[in-house]
């Protein structure tokens, strides 16, 4: 599993930790160190060999060897001297940075819609399009519609893609077979990864949608260089991609369902069949019902954005609903903070459009709900990339595999 030798032919890769059983070999040292160097670059931006040596605690000579390999393989290239270097004296450094090896495909499957994009390896998004899917009745129909949508968007692309990232809301096995999805009920049994590999002619890298969001933030967003954080997707449902100590949490048995953590043990019935799930209090479904109770206009299509606009115009009922929403969202965040001690939460989804005032209220609720004995609070921010985060996440999944980085 070297970081750099691309295998010919399309295939499917399910992102996941390598089995850590088994012993290290000397060649494994090489590929691991290559991956660590690439990770350091992604975390800190262009770095010279000397900088990399300081960061990783090895001699310049060792970095020189690693870098030589990556340069000849075309993974890295040297920037102009002076770029990013802060030193004034001495021989100027030659910073290393990722060479552009071609565009990455990004496919994000959501209920009723497929988002398709093309992303450069430095995170620039050149294509991004959402394609609505027709109603489908089976996994096969879903696959056909999704592949069709991807073809339509990626068809005009000239350059061949070097890899395709596929983010979808489901739990999959090591070979990319989709086992469970609590969001899209036609998804289990889908052969979409393999079909996409065939359609695009390249490797398809499969990842859970929430974890992909986290990867996107880690490679291209606010979590660059951050080893502990969570990406929270809050919309119709709630999902989380959680990175602890530089590793994405991946449950061993079933999907991670933070949205169905009980926060109100004899609360309302959730669509999952249980009572008082976080989703029953913090999803758009709750927002609709609560808006209706509050007599707000068009409650059945209420969004965080409209609710904020109503509150900003001075509607006290809207302001109250918004505050309740903040309090409910805070519940789950505080639970995750208490249990996992996650220091940074990045919010994604429609909730972002509730804006900075909502965020302030959310922070207050979180502060009020957090145990004071801990003497600490998590940082909470909102996704800055808005519509691009989905494709960035899928692309990040692809690049993670492509560079052999283990996250």
């Amino acid at each position: 599993m070297t970081a750099t030798a691309p295998r010919p032919g399309p295939r499917v890769v399910a992102l996941g930790p390598r089995p850590e059983t088994g012993l290290l070999s000397t060649t494994a040292v090489g590929s691991t160190n290559r991956a660590r160097v690439l990770q350091a670059l992604a975390d800190h931006g262009p770095l010279s060999r000397a900088d990399l040596a300081r960061h990783s605690g090895v001699t310049r000579a060792s970095i020189g060897g690693v870098a030589a390999g990556l340069l000849t393989e075309g993974v890295l290239h040297e920037l102009e001297s002076g770029t990013g270097g802060s030193r004034r004296i001495g021989k100027p450094s030659r910073p290393l940075w990722f060479a552009d090896r071609g565009p990455l495909g990004a496919v994000v499957l959501q209920p009723g819609v497929v988002e398709v994009g093309v992303v450069a390896s430095d995170g620039r998004v050149s294509v991004r399009e959402s394609v609505a899917l027709p109603p489908v009745r089976s996994a096969a129909e879903l696959d056909a519609a999704a592949v069709d949508a991807v073809r339509t968007v990626l068809g005009p692309t000239r350059q061949p893609l070097i890899a395709v990232g596929l983010a979808l809301p489901g739990f999959f096995g090591p070979d990319g077979e989709i086992l469970v999805s609590t969001t899209i009920d036609t998804l289990p049994g889908s052969r979409l990864p393999a079909l996409l590999a065939a359609a695009t002619g390249t490797t398809v890298v499969l990842e859970d949608d929430a974890r992909a969001l986290a990867l996107g933030q880690r490679w291209f967003g606010q979590a660059r260089g951050v080893r502990d954080f969570a990406a929270l997707q809050i919309g119709a449902g709630i999902g989380a991609g959680i990175m602890l100590d530089g590793r994405l949490l991946r449950g061993p048995l079933v999907a991670s369902e933070v949205g169905h953590m009980t926060v109100d043990h004899d609360g309302e019935l959730c669509r999952c069949g249980q009572r008082g799930c976080w989703e029953t209090l913090a999803s758009s479904r709750w927002l609709h019902r609560r808006s209706e109770q509050a007599g707000l206009p068009e409650p059945e299509t209420m969004t965080p954005r409209r609710l904020t606009e109503l509150a900003d115009t001075g509607d006290p009922a809207a302001a109250e609903v918004l505050d309740d929403y903040a309090g409910h969202v805070a519940l789950g965040i505080v639970n995750l903070f208490h249990v996992l001690s996650i220091p940074l939460f990045i919010l994604h989804g429609p909730i972002v459009e509730a804006g900075p005032r909502f965020l302030d209220r959310l922070r207050e609720h979180v502060a009020a709900r957090t145990m004071s004995a801990l003497n600490a609070l998590p940082t909470i921010t909102m996704d800055e990339n808005a519509t691009r985060s989905g494709v960035l996440g899928a692309a990040a999944a692809a690049i993670t595999h492509q560079l052999g980085v283990s996250l």
Copy 2:
């Protein structure tokens, strides 16, 4: 940080993940592989070189080299041929097993009591004693009382200890300074680790109490060879040691407080200042109050054991309380299962004395509360070692460090 060269002189080690930044070196390969071999032995029992080679996917020659080093260093020794070997044909194997390098000390600090023990490296407990502590007013007084208790118990021991494991309910820094404790308010600022090192003359390995329980199960208990499970301590408070993918979860910022996960968002006030924490519904405090409401005798000292005995005599009120208790304990377990997909929970503490019928009820509650869409349930068992689990956990922490295993 080799697995085997003991540094002279007492010192304090806070168990924790090595910083994974930095590159691998060839010598690191050696120590990592030594640790992996030791881990495999601990997981599977005595194994021959050939068995180890099969488990780890390397050649017998490579294992031979690793084993040679561990044998000459006295970490391992060879058992008689035939022990544990199942093969009938061929040259008989010489199984490898841990050499007895001396006893481990184990100290478990709890509110008002110190548990002190001596444990052999194969998990046999030769000494175990609980010493009540006098009321203390400061960290210094606590330290003095605890060191005194340890001296009293370990004084008569002849053999020198090769390491001492110290388990305590608190969050500590990398140098063993104790920062936060939600259980013992005189603990922050304690210098107990350093004082113990001075008193015993050996290395003191520091670990959180719940995580130590998990380590004990991993090395000596029901989680031998299991890479994903949680040890739950349920008594006056609730703590959890969670192992995922072979690594103990360690929050980066503050202590992990599963007991203060909100399960009832406008529930009763918890002693932590928040509302509806799991502890308000599943701790002994709740048991006392609920027993009082139900009119049970001596409610203020009610224990799971007495409650079970009452229920077994046919007291319907006791049976109802017990069932509520099971339902409340299930809440947190289900949350952890939904969020982290933990497939195995091992229960510790007074709750174990509620017996197998209670466990069955608990399992039913968990099954009822778990999302059916996941098509999976966690396994729930009870600690089999009862009173020995505490010292086994502390000893496991010591052995983990002593063997250089990273958990």
